[in-house]
């Protein structure tokens, strides 16, 4: 277990250091996210009540579309010089490769959320620093990166990965998308916890199931 955690830490360190130096993922994600928020802001004239209700939906669209751009880039370093093969030969449990990449992608999503929230709040003149909404976005980001990392590891080996990943990912993410938007709308409109609690539960269960399945099938996905 100690070795497994040490391997995981080493892999995450490598991913973050690579990203810090290349800015491959974050640049694409942030540019798309900020641009989208500006476009939404100019395209829709909303009164304060509508703003509160639509904010979680708009935010989640921006986050998932930007996140997909990031996911497409997340295996570039491994594909570029074939280092994925070296990882497979060096690491005893291949699940740690997936989990490390998943955690790195999740951290990128968190950075995205941290940057996007204040920009959105400023442009729409609306306070989005609501603990419930932040928790919902974090749970959504975990589920998104869990499903996305597994699919990105499969599509990274294909020539059509830029097209294939969203086509495969978005149908799988339907429960997450619905849960984030419904729970977020409930929180922002001040509804009682009981009215949206089921959506938070769905998010939590989806994240756990997707993480478990990915850990179980990653060996097969990579070696077959």
């Amino acid at each position: 277990m100690k070795n497994w955690l040490s391997t995981l830490k080493t892999l995450i360190w490598k991913d973050l250091l690579q990203e810090w130096r290349s800015k491959d993922m974050l640049t694409a994600m942030l540019a798309f996210a900020i641009l989208s928020i500006f476009i939404f802001n100019y395209a829709m004239e909303l009164d304060p009540r509508q703003r509160a209700e639509l904010a979680p939906g708009i935010l989640w669209v921006v986050i998932t579309f930007s996140g997909t751009l990031g996911l497409n880039r997340s295996f570039v370093a491994e594909q570029e010089q074939g280092s994925f093969d070296a990882l497979v030969m060096a690491v005893p449990g291949l699940g740690s490769i997936w989990l490390a990449k998943q955690i790195s992608n999740f951290l990128m999503m968190l950075v995205l959320i941290v940057i996007v929230l204040p920009i959105y709040s400023l442009l729409y003149n609306q306070n989005l620093f609501v603990p419930g909404l932040i928790l919902t976005l974090i749970l959504g980001a975990w589920s998104f990166s869990a499903a996305g990392t597994l699919l990105a590891s499969m599509t990274a080996q294909t020539r059509m990965r830029d097209l294939l990943l969203p086509v495969l990912l978005f149908p799988i993410l339907m429960p997450v998308n619905m849960a984030v938007v419904k729970a977020g709308t409930g929180i922002m409109s001040g509804a009682a916890l009981a009215s949206y609690q089921v959506w938070l539960t769905i998010l939590l269960v989806y994240g756990i199931i997707m993480t478990t399945i990915s850990l179980m099938v990653f060996d097969y996905v990579i070696l077959e």
Binding site: S6, G82, V88, A90, G93
Partner: protein, 238 residues
């Protein structure tokens, strides 16, 4: 230690790339795999290193059957392939440190710098790999492969991009590995360059492995007729 590969077959769809290949290697032995482009050499090396699954065949290690896809087997092997397996945004030192930690060897800074110096990269260790020339990357790749002290070293065209000093370094490293009981399986398009270190040549032709031709201190002109009997006869007839 002895390894035997028996009846290895691999196909990509309907294209059969390896057909019932048998190969044996013993401690301290180096075999050089020869064959024209598309003969299946790289596929065979990837199957042996556990990165590609074969449709048929088995691996025996000291007589006991092992799975080619098991992590234990993969960790006994190290592969130097056409791609360098290096992270371009990390320095040479960071790449070695990363892989040594994955192998749970956790070499010290001094030990890692010694490895870099052995590969002739002492001064380039702190530069990012993307600033390295092809030859420097190949040197680092070889140093990376040796980090795990592998029992079986698998090399696909290892002399590619290496200058005279680099080739001499590789020959020295291979001799050392053989000296401490390691096994080496490599491919080469330049068998005469490989003659300095190899114990035998084996030819792969359209997915079929020929018998091993042992060098036994012979010169290339003495070995060549055994490897390419038909072409030699054709040459004499012409």
């Amino acid at each position: 230690m002895q390894i035997k590969l028996q009846g290895i077959s691999k196909a990509y769809g309907r294209l059969s790339v390896l057909k019932n290949c048998d190969l044996a290697l013993e401690s301290g032995q180096l075999l050089c795999l020869l064959g024209s482009n598309g003969a299946g050499k790289t596929t065979l090396l990837r199957v042996v290193s556990g990165l590609l699954s074969a449709e048929q065949g088995k691996l025996l290690v000291d007589g006991a059957e092992w799975s080619l896809k098991s992590p234990e087997w993969r960790r006994k092997c190290a592969l130097v392939a056409h791609k360098t397996f290096l992270y371009q945004n990390l320095s040479g030192l960071e790449n070695l440190r990363f892989f040594s930690r994955l192998y749970q060897h956790d070499l010290t800074e001094k030990e890692l710098r010694d490895r870099l110096a052995e590969a002739g990269l002492a001064r380039a260790g702190d530069k990012q790999v993307r600033a390295y020339s092809r030859g420097m990357q190949q040197r680092l790749t070889i140093a990376r492969a040796l980090l795990s002290d592998p029992d079986v070293l698998i090399l696909d065209e290892p002399f590619t991009g290496l200058d005279k000093d680099g080739s001499a370094m590789l020959v020295r490293v291979l001799a050392e590995l053989k000296g401490r009981g390691g096994m080496v399986l490599m491919t080469s398009h330049d068998p005469q360059a490989a003659l300095a270190v190899t114990d035998g040549f084996v030819r792969l032709s359209r997915g079929v492995l020929d018998e091993v031709v042992w060098t036994r201190g012979r010169t290339w002109s003495e070995i060549e007729p055994n490897l390419y009997p038909q072409s030699t006869l054709e040459g004499q007839a012409a």
